[in-house]
């Protein structure tokens, strides 16, 4: 970042949340860079920036989209970069339609499942099977022209109306980023959870990616998009994932149906048929992982024990698991250095979920709220729960801290850094490594005489880690296994030096292919600590960055198509013609000897087909994707939709919210009705949550420490003087904040740092809430109400991250009621707003014709006619100024003209509605009149699952869902015809069965 000429920090308060990292922004400023902070609040980041651009939370795509629009209209893009390094010239299928055609939908929408079929988003192929390109970029179906049309309505005026940003501020931003991009200069974007915690968070980042590709800022020093992550190894725990949908190295967890067969799985990961990026070696990465886990039991004859892997079918994320707990479907729960009672959205639902467990294991340093909710949580205070009625067994296991064990963290730029052990852990405190190793030993011991096939994977597991003289697992053995080693041959037992050495024939093992090289030469590369003053700025000898110790990804793009640096000032990696190799200040991210002018006949065919100007080596076609044919659940181009509980009508489209967002319509997760609908005025303000410098997330590592607690002792809210006056809030007094989920109390901080925004002629007040405090928890130095109790659970469909950054609520002066009256207050607001489970959970809100056109384009053999739909129009209320009828719960007919009724939601991941053949089509009640009767999807998330029909959902029916969190990876394999076909037949079969 220090090398940037302009830094745009948006969706992050970097100076307060990543203070020491912010020194590099300051450094860049000292070197002359311009720093712009786009944020709802004025923070210490803003104080250290050249410009503050206040924005309404959740409207970022409009701002970034308008930058894209202006860059395209004013010819400000980096022409040579765009033509060579992106997919701008590719033609898209003639069947593709976008939001400008369909009122906000893309082609292929299924209003019954709220998902897209991406068949019409694909590249158009010629007779030779190769993608058609138009190097002039003039064909109307080129990505370039589609992009122009898509963002045509993202004008500076739209920015003013939607984001509340003044035209002169927009102009400043536009000039800053464009004047600081090109051959000589680079602009960097930095974001944090201000971008991710939205119902379309992944698309926020995609919008910035498009802009940065157009400006030629990817793969170059001082460019890129920096994800500022919030935990010591949150990057590492995604790479080596404790996540339900991934195996190490971003390999997908196998999905039932789609990946029943090993070959299908491997093809899905990536193969030369569909790829020329490095995912085409997916078979080698997969087999090496299986060899690392099951050793000699993984043989070619048994598909390397692939069938030992359990399968997912839908979402099994933390919120879905909480629902399953509430339904009695989960007996045991491990909490490892996390505090969901305070840190997860809808805290009450989390705590109630835990009260349904048979047993709970909490491993932490102190008695956090997630360990003590059964004796001192808010539901004990309110009388909803009492210890005498809670059957849950709770184990609190003290954890060793970072000084008491050796191991590695992966920081936010993929740098793996080793910590050495300083002291022994006190008392019975133990590391996770030792605990889980011991647990594994005990499980295997108990099963050792079992002949049940389901126990083979545990019994055949490679689990013989050496124990050191203190009785602890030798962690270097684990690092070596993660790195990988050779099996048999000359190098038997030797560590592999990089992922290029991995093979699909069982002669290598590697626990996480992207970390191959961290133990190169049999040495722990992450433990390298060569002081910074003994090496250059890239500091390649400090720690080890995956992959291959490379510090900037896709850095081949730092040179022009001929391999020459774009400018002397921005030299990073270049082609050394004499040596016939790529070289430079970093490890080149390209086949080392592939000349810049090397060509290839085929767009695919494995890494051998990468042309000399294909810098994006993880993408299926080696290009940066302005338009994403696959990989995004909610559309190939980012499109603005309003947050779930927005008080503003979407000014850009009839479609109000992300039509594919994942909702959880439940009584304990009610939503505000949404803009223009009756009851929305009950929750008129926008809340946005954030962190402070002095506390850490849910407080487990800060509220128990006296120093930090003294620095930030009390929960508070930030409000503008205007709002304080409107509501009657006293500075430093108390306020009670009520959302459809909960009521909390906070101290009041009245500050000009919060600015009311004018949106479409209305004043919108935003309220800032830090979320570090929690009630209960033994020994916490400070306590307070938890902001996360206010949040509902609505999720981004790509990554299932909840929307926390724009939430509706009310604020009143004074402290909240105590005891049962607290819930009474919440209920009073709910009743006044007329909330039901359906409130705010409508998906498609466009005119019927648009739905019909979208569905027809994507899925059905014959397009539907509007007459086929029994339409439900939602009333918008007397104050609604829009003239668009809302559609929801529409009875739906398929091409076969069978009648279907919408019944229970069976897929807890997507909120997908299962479609069952019905005796007759049922016209649903109007969506907005839900208080009069059920409309559309009324049944709660997992009721059917509780009845024991797990595995019946069809999340697997869309292969594009598998492994979707693979950031920036080539995803070209997810739309394979064989999978689709197999899958469709499966759906048909099920319908017949029923």
């Amino acid at each position: 970042m220090a090398n940037a000429d302009c830094i745009v920090i948006q969706g992050s308060n970097m100076a307060e949340c990543h203070p020491v990292g912010y020194q590099w922004v300051v450094e860049a400023r000292l070197r002359g860079a311009k720093v712009i902070h786009v944020d709802p609040r004025f923070t210490r980041t803003t104080a250290n920036a050249d410009k503050h651009v206040p924005i309404r939370a959740g409207s970022d795509i409009v701002l970034l989209g308008a930058l894209i629009h202006s860059v395209l209209e004013q010819d400000l893009f980096f022409d040579e970069y765009v033509r060579h390094y992106t997919n701008a010239a590719n033609l898209i299928s003639p069947d593709y339609q976008g939001p400008e055609d369909l009122e906000g939908l893309f082609s292929g929408y299924d209003p019954t499942t709220h998902t897209y079929d991406n068949a019409t988003w694909q590249y158009e192929l010629g007779d030779d099977g190769e993608p058609i390109v138009d190097p002039t970029l003039e064909h109307p179906r080129t990505v370039f022209q589609i992009l122009k049309r898509h963002y045509a309505r993202y004008t500076p005026e739209a920015v003013e109306t939607t984001c509340g940003i003044k035209p002169e501020d927009f102009d400043y931003l536009l000039r800053s980023v464009t004047e600081n991009s090109g051959r000589d200069r680079t602009t960097c974007f930095a974001y944090a959870v201000g971008w991710t915690q939205h119902s379309l968070g992944a698309q926020f980042i995609r919008t910035a990616s498009i802009l940065q590709l157009l400006l030629g800022n990817m793969g170059r020093p001082g460019g890129g998009i920096m994800a500022l992550r919030g935990h010591a190894t949150i990057q590492g725990s995604t790479d080596i994932p404790t996540l339900f949908n991934l195996l190490p190295g971003y390999l997908p967890m196998p999905s039932a149906v789609v990946h029943d067969d090993f070959q299908d799985y491997v093809r899905g990961v990536g193969s030369p048929d569909t790829q020329k990026g490095f995912w085409s070696n997916g078979n080698a990465y997969t087999v090496s992982l299986l060899k690392a886990w099951w050793g000699d039991a993984a043989t070619e004859d048994n598909d390397f024990a692939y069938h030992y892997l359990p399968r997912i079918n839908g979402a099994h994320g933390t919120y879905q698991s909480a629902v399953r707990m509430l339904e009695g479907g989960v007996d045991g729960f491990f909490i490892l250095g996390q505090n969901p009672a305070v840190g997860s959205a809808n805290g009450r639902m989390q705590r109630m979920a835990m009260s349904h467990l048979k047993w709970l294991v909490v491993r932490d340093f102190s008695l956090i709220e997630s360990a003590t909710w059964w004796k001192d949580g808010p539901e004990i205070e309110s009388g909803e729960l009492s210890p005498e009625e809670i059957d849950t067994e709770v184990f609190f296991l003290p954890a060793a801290n970072h000084t008491e064990k050796a191991g590695s963290f992966t920081q936010t730029q993929r740098l793996v850094q080793w910590r050495f052990k300083a002291v022994d852990s006190p008392g019975q405190a133990q590391s996770e490594l030792d605990f889980f190793h011991a647990l594994g030993v005990k499980l295997r011991e108990r099963l050792k005489d079992s002949d049940d096939p389901r126990d083979r994977p545990l019994l055949d597991l490679t689990w013989d880690y050496p124990i050191d003289e203190h009785g602890e697992v030798d962690v270097s053995a684990v690092v070596r296994e993660i790195n990988g080693f050779h099996i048999g041959g000359d190098r038997d037992g030797e560590a592999v030096d990089g992922f290029n050495e991995l093979r699909a024939d069982g002669t290598t093992a590697s626990g996480c292919w992207i970390y191959a090289g961290v133990y190169a030469g049999g040495e722990n590369q992450a433990a390298r600590k060569k002081p910074r003053d003994q090496q250059d700025e890239t500091a390649l000898d400090w720690g080890w960055a995956w992959p291959a110790n490379r510090r900037i990804l896709y850095n081949r793009a730092s040179a022009d198509p001929a391999g020459v640096p774009w400018s002397e000032r921005k030299r990073h990696v270049w082609w050394d013609a004499d040596a016939g190799r790529w070289t430079g200040r970093d490890v080149p991210d390209f086949p080392a000897d592939r000349a810049p002018d090397s060509t290839s006949e085929s767009a695919y065919g494995g890494t051998g087909s990468l042309r000399g100007d294909d810098p994006f080596v993880m993408q299926a076609d080696g290009k940066g994707w302005l338009f994403a044919p696959t990989g995004m659940i909610d559309g190939p181009l980012p499109t603005h939709f309003e947050p779930q509980e927005s008080t503003v009508r979407n000014p850009l489209y009839s479609q109000q919210n992300n039509p594919t967002r994942v909702t959880m319509p439940r009584e304990d997760n009610l939503s505000a009705p949404g803009a223009g609908l009756p009851g929305s005025e009950v929750y008129p303000y926008v809340f946005t949550t954030y962190r402070l410098t002095e506390h850490h997330t849910a407080g487990g590592m800060s509220r128990w420490l006296p120093y930090l607690s003294e620095l930030q002792p009390e929960m508070f809210c930030e409000v503008s003087p205007e709002l304080a006056e409107e509501v009657g809030l006293e500075p430093y007094g108390w306020a009670t904040i009520v959302s459809p989920r909960a009521a909390i109390e906070t101290r009041v901080l009245v500050t000009k740092r919060m600015k009311p925004l004018t949106i479409a002629g209305r004043t919108i007040h935003q309220i800032g809430l830090p979320y570090h405090w929690g009630a209960g928890g033994d020994g916490a130095v400070v306590q307070g109400d938890s902001a996360n109790d206010l949040l509902g659970i609505t999720m981004d469909p790509n990554v299932f991250i909840q929307a926390s950054k724009s939430v509706a609520g009310a604020i009143v002066p004074g402290r909240r009621p105590r005891g049962p009256e607290r819930q009474d207050l919440v209920d009073k607001f709910r009743a006044e707003a007329g909330l039901t489970e359906e409130s705010g959970n409508q998906h498609a809100t466009v005119p019927v014709e648009a739905i019909v056109a979208s569905v027809g384009a994507g899925k059905l053999a014959e397009p539907l006619a509007a007459d086929d739909l029994a339409v439900a129009y939602g009333p918008h209320g007397p104050d609604c100024s829009c003239d668009t009828p809302m559609v929801d719960g529409a009875d739906f007919r398929r091409a076969e003209q069978k009648a279907y009724t919408t019944v229970t939601t069976t897929d807890d991941r997507t909120g997908r509605v299962d479609i069952l053949p019905g005796a007759e089509a049922v016209a649903e009640g109007p969506a907005g009149q839900s208080e009069d009767g059920p409309a559309g999807e009324t049944t709660s998330g997992g009721t059917e699952e509780a009845a024991g029909t797990e595995g019946s959902d069809d999340g697997s029916s869309d292969p594009s869902k598998a492994g979707h969190v693979r950031d920036g990876a080539g995803d070209g394999t997810r739309d394979e015809a064989p999978e689709d076909a197999g899958n469709d037949s499966r759906n048909d079969e099920r319908e017949d069965d029923r």
Binding site: A232, P310, R311, L336, T392, N401, T412, L461, K530
Partner: protein
Amino acid sequence: MARFSPLEWPVFRQFRSGDTTGRGPSVTSAKTRATKPRTVTSDAVVKSVCPYCAVGCGQNVFVRDNKVVQIEGDPDSPISRGRLCPKGAASEQLVNSSTRITEVLYRAPRAKDWQTLDLETATDMIADRFLEARRKHWQDTDEFGSPLRRTMGIASLGGATIDNEENYLIKKLFTAAGAIQIENQARI
């Protein structure tokens, strides 16, 4: 107490030491002069990494008699250049705070309070419960015969604050056991 000497009169001290503002050596007490920073009296310095956010600041952990006595920024680190934020600077309390619990606690069903337990017994109890939950909620196939080979009876949350090597063992063990509901802060 030391015998009084006129030379120890503060004005003389100030002149003698060139401490023109009177805020330096001329006003230190004997106790202050005898006080040495814990960084000097420690018997080992161990290279570490801050456990809070993802910037990954380098830490020097100062140890004396198998106790952490001080944690400071590591000037060698090209990332942090020796700096720490308030959290990183307070991380010595993360080690030594009196609010830290170092024994295993157990809460029985319907109990109103904790009782202590030894680690071995607790681990045995958890292993037994793990296998029971695994068995009880096991799914061999979905209703159409596609293999699932999994249990829905066990879930886990956490990973962003523990080590890569630990996450690796957790994912490996849970996956082999068929437990798929593993999540961490990366999804929040």
